[in-house]
Point group: C2
Amino acid sequence: MNTVPEDIALAVEKGRSFLLATHIYPDGDALGSLLALGDILKVMGKDVFLYTEEPVSHLYEFLPGSDGLGERLGDVARFDCAIALDCGDRFRLGRRADRILTVKPTLMIDHHAGHKLFGDLQWVEPGRSSTGEMVFELSRRLGVGLSRDAAFCLYAAIVSDTGSFKYSCTSPRTMRIAADLLDAGVDPAEVAGKLFDNFTLNRLRLLKRVLETLEMHADGGIAIILATRAMFADTGTRGADTENFINYPRSLATVRVAAFLKETDESLVSVSLRSKGEHCNVARIAALFGGGGHRNAAGFKCPNISLEEVRVGLLVRLRELMATGCGGDEAQGR
Amino acid sequence: MNTVPEDIALAVEKGRSFLLATHIYPDGDALGSLLALGDILKVMGKDVFLYTEEPVSHLYEFLPGSDGLGERLGDVARFDCAIALDCGDRFRLGRRADRILTVKPTLMIDHHAGHKLFGDLQWVEPGRSSTGEMVFELSRRLGVGLSRDAAFCLYAAIVSDTGSFKYSCTSPRTMRIAADLLDAGVDPAEVAGKLFDNFTLNRLRLLKRVLETLEMHADGGIAIILATRAMFADTGTRGADTENFINYPRSLATVRVAAFLKETDESLVSVSLRSKGEHCNVARIAALFGGGGHRNAAGFKCPNISLEEVRVGLLVRLRELMATGCGGDEAQGR
């Protein structure tokens, strides 16, 4: 917790052969940070292996270098340093977490709040918008100029985790780093286009179906949408195609809490929760169902249960949340 | 065209009583720039009248000072300086354009390309993301510190015209100005929430109906959506509620050109066009129908004609556009 970025930079300078890893189901910040740091280390003349448990989602194939990630970890004795990026919990490193952590030292670079510290050196700053922002600063400390590809990956990481500079985690520093990355030759419209204008026609058809399920409760304070297995089958889509759908109910002016329930392939109901304002903590709701997250963005999964059962049980909890201050004046005023 | 910002600053310093105006149907950049410059001039001890032809849309009522705009221009002899903001054409100043332009000097501050110069001193920089960015720079030249309200309005102006830093007009300078505005106390999530999370339930219902009309042509390169009078009536919405709807067809990965046709109240069909890439100029298409705009964002209006007639005529032109390079390799690669 007290590790300063200088210590991380020193450890990086010392190492020769690096294992880089990030959390499972990696998002834009996870992959962008991983690829950019890999590029930086290669420029420094280090050996680098970028590990991922599963193939990169088609949504992130546009990130330069994403075809160079490896799913076969192999013998970790060949590494003299591991770096875990954007990962607040050792279990989120995936099935090979124990093996990764046998590498000494394992460094952790992360911006998540409520992280569960692991590894040998931890640089954790919840005040940062993204891990990408931290990797940018590390590159400065290391005195390494960013390649255009690395700048592109870091810009994509920041845009991903700030919702294109819309979320409250966006700071003046975030903006100045973004400016430096644009100076390095990144085209902001290209990144935004790849991250946000990535709808397939089937995905838009799924969105139409999902929007038809919209239900409102508690005087418009609660909004719920659903995606059933039938909808995925009818439209030829899958779980990953619902990214950002939660933002539609969230965007309603009266809504304080939005929920998106989907039946994914493995007889599992996945729930995403979003809230607005300081008084509406959906991480607490998610925890009741065995999940986790941040105050305004959380989620959980329920195996072997029907969508309808989850919906009914969740609605009870959301109504309680609304009744205990979430719909209060201060929250409404935001 | 050759006026430098210094000349504008000098003229502002000389004036005592100012008339500020912007284009009709003002958007976030127009109103944000107008309100911020009004605030700046008041801080300088000037008399200021902010003119608007029509009441401010409910979408922009959150801008501080938006309740202080006046629709009654009155005798313009009381002004010794007028400033037209974000307005590339005198006709876009509205019905009172001639009266406004009798004020000497009339200054013009604008970032639109293909502007038709008018007024006495013109500061036009098409390379700027927004007029808000230019008003920020003017405040620096005038040596006036921004109030929190002025900073908020300028940030909203920039976010509006860059689509939250997604469009190609976003430059490193845009980002650094945004950083300075955040330093002045602006909450980025508050601005984004007010600008983008402003859906009413009726508006979401309208979106569902409009998405159902989606049609694709030219191997997925052209996407068209429609809003009929019946849809507005059924959902209790009006033309202004369709803001940003054009982004849904535009967000499809295969789409090069997107069109949104709507039947507005006055037996008028309004058409918005969006395109991607350098080779797909929708301003040229709009010009064929008597409209105008930018390369990647344009529009036109057709009175006394059916939606279906416009759709058929437009589709012919869009197919021609696709056939003449718009769907080419370079454009596809973006």
